[in-house]
């Protein structure tokens, strides 16, 4: 199946945006999942709910909230612009932010699930063997979290390729800059004779999404198998 130059551009942009948002999210989602599972602090339930908000809010609303916060006159956007000259509105960087925010809860959920299955007693055992907090995290907890991190990463990446509502609301639909696959698909549907383009983009999106889900499942199974049956007492 051959794509036109514009279609390739949309596909490449989508991959680029999904990858960058994934790279930003990985450490943050891992840290947040760890805090939510292993720390007890007042307001934990609220923090948990806040993290998951993008899953339940209409994406358009998330995009609108981003616009308010990160717009040129928004409290964070204004500061970024003044201090670092970073523009988020109508830019690829803004697209990355929108996709990152939307896929963040997916990653946190997957990582959390694995982390909840890891016996905190293992970290205690590591303590008695002389391992300090960071050492324990990197030698015990992180390797055991890998299946969840990988599964979450693949799912988030696949979902990131298809993020629509928040992107179009926050950074609009600019070819080559913010027009990712779903936006290109939407655009094709709006113009006469766009059917062929729409069909090709649809098949591309479908294939990518399916491949992502299969890969995620396969990875987590392979890892679990490698860790052995005793690894996850879920």
């Amino acid at each position: 199946m051959l794509l036109s130059a514009d279609e390739w551009q949309a596909l490449r942009l989508s991959l680029e945006v999904a990858l960058w948002s994934l790279l930003w999210n990985l450490p943050v989602a891992t840290a947040v999942a760890w805090v939510l599972v292993r720390r007890r602090f007042p307001g934990r339930t609220l923090a948990d709910a806040f993290v998951h908000l993008p899953l339940v809010l209409p994406p358009v609303l998330t995009g609108y909230l981003l616009l308010i916060l990160f717009g040129a006159r928004g409290p964070i956007g204004g500061w970024l612009q003044r201090s670092f000259g970073v523009h988020l509105i109508f830019t690829t960087a803004g697209t990355v932010l929108a996709v990152a925010v939307m896929t963040f809860p997916l990653m946190v959920r997957a990582i959390r699930l694995t982390l909840e299955g890891i016996d905190p007693g293992l970290e205690e055992a590591a303590r008695t063997l002389g391992a300090g907090p960071l050492d324990r995290f990197f030698s015990i907890t992180l390797p055991l979290m890998l299946p969840g991190i990988l599964a979450g990463a693949v799912t988030a990446f696949a979902a990131g390729l298809g993020e629509f509502g928040a992107v179009i609301t926050f950074v609009s639909n600019i070819p080559g800059v913010t027009r990712t696959l779903p936006l290109a698909l939407y655009t094709a549907l709006q113009v006469p004779n766009g059917d062929a383009t729409a069909a090709r983009l649809a098949i591309t999106s479908f294939t990518l999404g399916l491949a992502g889900l299969v890969l995620s499942e396969w990875l987590s199974r392979a890892l679990r198998h490698q860790l052995g049956r005793g690894a996850v007492h879920a």
């Binding site: 007693g121 303590r127 008695t128 002389g130 050492d135 490698q226 690894a231």
Partner: protein, 362 residues
Amino acid sequence: MLEVDVAKQRGAFSAQLSFRSATPGITALFGRSGCGKTTTVHMIAGLLRPDRGHIRIDDTVLFDAAQGIDVPAEQRGIGYVFQDARLFPHLRVRDNLRYGARRARGRAPRQSFDDVVELLGLASLLARRPAGLSGGERQRVAIGRALLAQPRLLLLDEPLAAIDVARRGELLPYLEHLRDRLNLPMVFVSHQFEEVMRLAGEMVVLKDGAVAGHGDVMAMSQSAAVRDIVGSESLGAVVEGLTEQLDEAAGLARIRVGSGLLQVEAGQLRPGQRVRVQLLARDLILAVTPPVGLSVRNSLAGTIMRLEPDGERAWLVFTDIGNVTLMVRVTEDARSALALAVGQAAWVLVKAVSLRGHVFSR
């Protein structure tokens, strides 16, 4: 010398206890489940912070509430073998063993990798993953892992509890090996008196978060604190003696106990070995005249020192057989028929087949 004097409140449970144990050797923490044994070892290890008090090993203060000292667990250098082994599932046995060794900075290596592998029989397991190991194998790896961190004290929290009963006997000899071959103080938590008897030199009896008794295992075996926990069925004096003769044809070993010789099943015993035997009070028979014409192989002459009621219709008769006291359980009926009284001469009878001797060197 391990010195523990701590108090801890946890919900409805409160523990307040203090004991000292001479190092090296094994000190048992003995008591029913829920009496505070695990809480106590957690505090020694630094996994749980006492509300008050102090914990010291020799001159090193590990915790002192008054001075504001609380050495983090990872810096205490105390090995901990958990009930459920807690091997790291993503590491092979070899890397589990090396985990602590790599982090034992600054402490002189006392146990080498090869010695520990040999001592615990781990050679064939090194390349395996924890998930494929049996309960006993896991505990051996866990013990090896703790030893290789070069601890100054080893805590063993019911290491046999998670192993099925049929296989417990396989791990005990390894623990005896550790005690006899390493010069390492150990605290062994258990609710099984037989384990304590086979392993420990002294024992601390815990009840409801407090120390109910503390002392030499032989002396403690007759104490009210232990009696309270084991119940009258498993109650019995623990005695120690040297194996003097071995009758291989009869399969019997003679052990010098008090002023008499006790015949026990020989098993693996060798002459000259120090042996511990528990004589269950319910297995012993008391005679007030020298017995003749019996199949019983053991007849130890002694003097009745004291009688204590044991339940409604039974008595415990404490009989001295030459600086060693045995406890004999008799019915109220037997006591009155024989008119048992303090100061009376008596012969304690016990079948050799009901006695097992356990090698015990300190």
